[in-house]
């Protein structure tokens, strides 16, 4: 007995995810909201391609076209990583830099895994006509190389990594909710030399250090905690203040869904 229901369910989830990411692109354009265009485009492509791998009746483009597409995306994401590291380095300016730095790396892994599935695994090529639900559990030559399992494990690591970051956005919403928006957390420190820099100026200058606010009558200064940091596209989803970002948790959910489904296919199709 084969779990055909699982394959069909995953194919449906992939199509839904692709449709959702397509909707994100349109909605973000129309409503002037922020999103990762390149990532959403990649998710649309991966979702449609994987649905076709899971169920032959959903195949849309030929394998050759998919291979060219995913190769181009791999180059794109690799360039983004190089761009990121050259601009920001591997050590960043805040305590969540690992999430920033891993953003493009995980998507590079995803598109390379897609490319690998088309090039190396039989189900994506000539055997695809029978569909994955009829694949046997006997290991193939590709399985013997270990690459499918390595790809799968990398994707699972990425999935739990993204899962860990979901709760960041709960904080963002809490801080921004309610009738008194834009409350800023302050920590009061020992007196500093007179003439502290106004917070707004410091923030506008993108200072890494907290901005100083003189507090009259108390001889203390307040430090704006980790709020005056610059943002950039690779990390914009991480910024608690960027309310223009379109549904960040749903975006992360699409990453997780993609990673899980791809990992499943790599393991089952090997």
């Amino acid at each position: 007995m084969r779990p055909t229901w699982l394959v069909e369910a995953l194919a449906a989830v992939m199509l839904l995810t692709a449709a959702y990411c397509l909707g994100r692109l349109v909605f973000a354009r129309v409503r002037a909201r922020s999103t990762h265009v390149d990532v959403d485009v990649a998710h649309v492509a991966m979702g449609v391609a994987m649905a076709g791998m899971l169920l032959p009746s959903l195949r849309s483009l030929s394998s050759g076209i998919w291979e060219i597409l995913f190769a181009a995306m791999a180059v794109w994401f690799a360039l983004q990583i190089v761009h990121f590291v050259r601009r920001w380095g591997v050590r960043g300016w805040d305590d969540d830099h690992l999430h920033h730095a891993s953003h493009y790396a995980t998507h590079l892994a995803m598109v390379v895994a897609m490319l690998y599935m088309f090039l190396a695994l039989p189900v994506a090529g000539s055997v695809a006509a029978e569909g994955m639900s009829t694949m046997s559990s006997a290991p193939s030559a590709a399985a013997a190389s270990g690459l499918p399992l390595i790809f799968a494990f990398v994707l699972f690591v990425a999935a739990v990594w993204y899962g860990d970051s979901l709760t960041r956005f709960a904080r963002a919403r809490t801080a921004g909710a309610g009738p008194a928006p834009a409350l800023v957390v302050l920590e009061l420190e020992q007196p500093e030399p007179a003439g502290g820099v106004p917070a707004a100026e410091a923030a506008a200058g993108g200072r890494d250090a907290g901005a100083l606010l003189p507090v009259a009558g108390q001889g203390q200064v307040a430090t704006v905690v980790a709020r005056s940091r610059p943002t950039f596209a690779g990390a914009k989803v991480l910024c608690a203040h960027d309310r223009r970002w379109l549904a960040p948790r749903l975006e992360i959910a699409t990453h997780i869904t993609m990673c899980f489904t791809m990992g499943y296919m790599l393991i089952v199709m090997r």
Binding site: H99, V160, P181, V215, A216
Partner: protein, 361 residues
């Protein structure tokens, strides 16, 4: 907003009274990274459980039932019953097993449910250890640390306990390693001592001292593996052929060093942990054949990766204890405070970026 306003706001107000703030999010620390590693392994296991083979009767009859062999009735009866039920409801059982493991992975990865997921993982692991692994063959007398004893599932449970999110979130608290946070440094080290000391004792058991015991164990795992792995296994098996006693003694000595080395000074402990990770890797590759994941249907990658994770949990985060000094003086008036919206810095929301954003370009 003026500074005076700020002062007024800070007087008599606390942030928690005004804004019901969620627990602040912070970047993953060492323990969290190890928890996420454990979650990734659970996710891997859950997906392995989704392989078509696991939804067939053969999973019950061919994978669970043989675990009863050689075990006492208290273990064997439970295994036989479980195998029968699983084989009779293969689709339901396969779905349930995979779902539980996937939920554990998701639960550990999502911060609000870490404790619940770790609790479930302990219960599930012990159940799998008893039924799915035949209690690691410890009662059957055939357990060998080279092939996965005392059972990978037991290590999952152990890791869940040692990575428990205790109150102490200070990385430098306690003895300075992740595993010491739930119970303290000494109990954690004793757990390590018992585990590795037990592995050493197992390797000296009568069954493992037989002249061909080690060779046979390795040869068994070589069956069905890819050529490169089976060739490696066979080469090692040839080296230890007829030298079961010597091999067992060498392995036991190494295990003993690893077990006792955890009590050494931090700098030396790091060396011991590197040795432990190297031994675990060697066991994983040669003795366990990567848990058989290359050979066909497998339910988990066996104990090698978990022993490495365990070693990471004991890694000293600092090499010397901080000098004891007087506590920092309390800062008068230090508190969390708020300022009203008018004082909020206008944050730059857009920077020149390496990526593209829709709606803004």
């Amino acid at each position: 907003m003026s500074a005076g306003t700020l002062a007024g706001v800070t007087r008599g107000w606390s942030l928690r009274r005004v804004v019901p703030r969620a627990e602040p999010w912070c970047a993953p620390d060492s323990r969290r990274i190890l928890q996420l590693s454990l979650a990734a392994v659970w996710l891997f296991d859950g997906v392995l459980q989704l392989q078509p083979y696991m939804f067939t009767q053969a999973f019950g009859t061919g994978m669970i039932a043989p675990m009863a062999h050689g075990n006492p009735a208290v273990v064997a009866d439970a295994i036989t019953w479980s195998a029968r039920v699983t084989a009779g409801h293969s689709m339901l059982a396969g779905t349930a097993f995979a779902s539980i493991q996937l939920l554990i992975a998701v639960g550990i990865a999502w911060r609000p449910t870490v404790r619940a997921a770790l609790t479930v993982s302990v219960v599930w692991s012990l159940g799998v250890w008893w039924i799915g692994e035949g209690a690691g063959d410890l009662f059957a007398g055939t357990a060998s640390p080279l092939t996965g004893a005392p059972g990978a599932a037991l290590l999952y449970a152990l890791l869940a306990v040692l990575l428990w999110p205790s109150r102490s979130d200070d990385e430098t608290a306690g003895g300075g390693f992740v595993a010491d946070r739930p119970f303290g440094a000494l109990p954690a080290r004793l757990i390590w001592l018992v585990l590795w000391g037990g592995l050493g004792a197992l390797s000296l058991s009568s069954g493992n001292r037989q002249p061909e015991a080690v060779r046979d164990a390795i040869n068994t795992m070589a069956t069905g593996q890819p050529h490169w792995l089976s060739s490696l296994d066979q080469a090692v098996a040839r080296e230890v052929a007829g030298r079961g006693l010597e091999a067992s003694v060498v392995v036991a000595v190494i295990f003993g060093l690893v077990a006792l080395g955890i009590f050494a000074p931090p700098r030396m402990v790091r060396g011991v942990l590197i040795l432990a990770a190297a031994v675990a890797t060697a066991i994983w590759v040669v003795g366990e054949g990567f848990g058989g994941v290359f050979a066909g249907p497998a339910t988990d990658p066996n104990s090698g990766p978990l022993l490495i994770l365990l070693a990471a949990a004991f890694w000293p985060l600092r090499l010397s204890r901080p000098a004891a000094g007087p506590p920092a003086p309390a800062t008068p008036g230090v508190s969390s405070a708020i300022i009203a919206a008018g004082a909020r810095p206008e944050l730059p929301t857009e920077m020149p970026t390496p990526g593209l954003t829709a709606g803004q370009r």
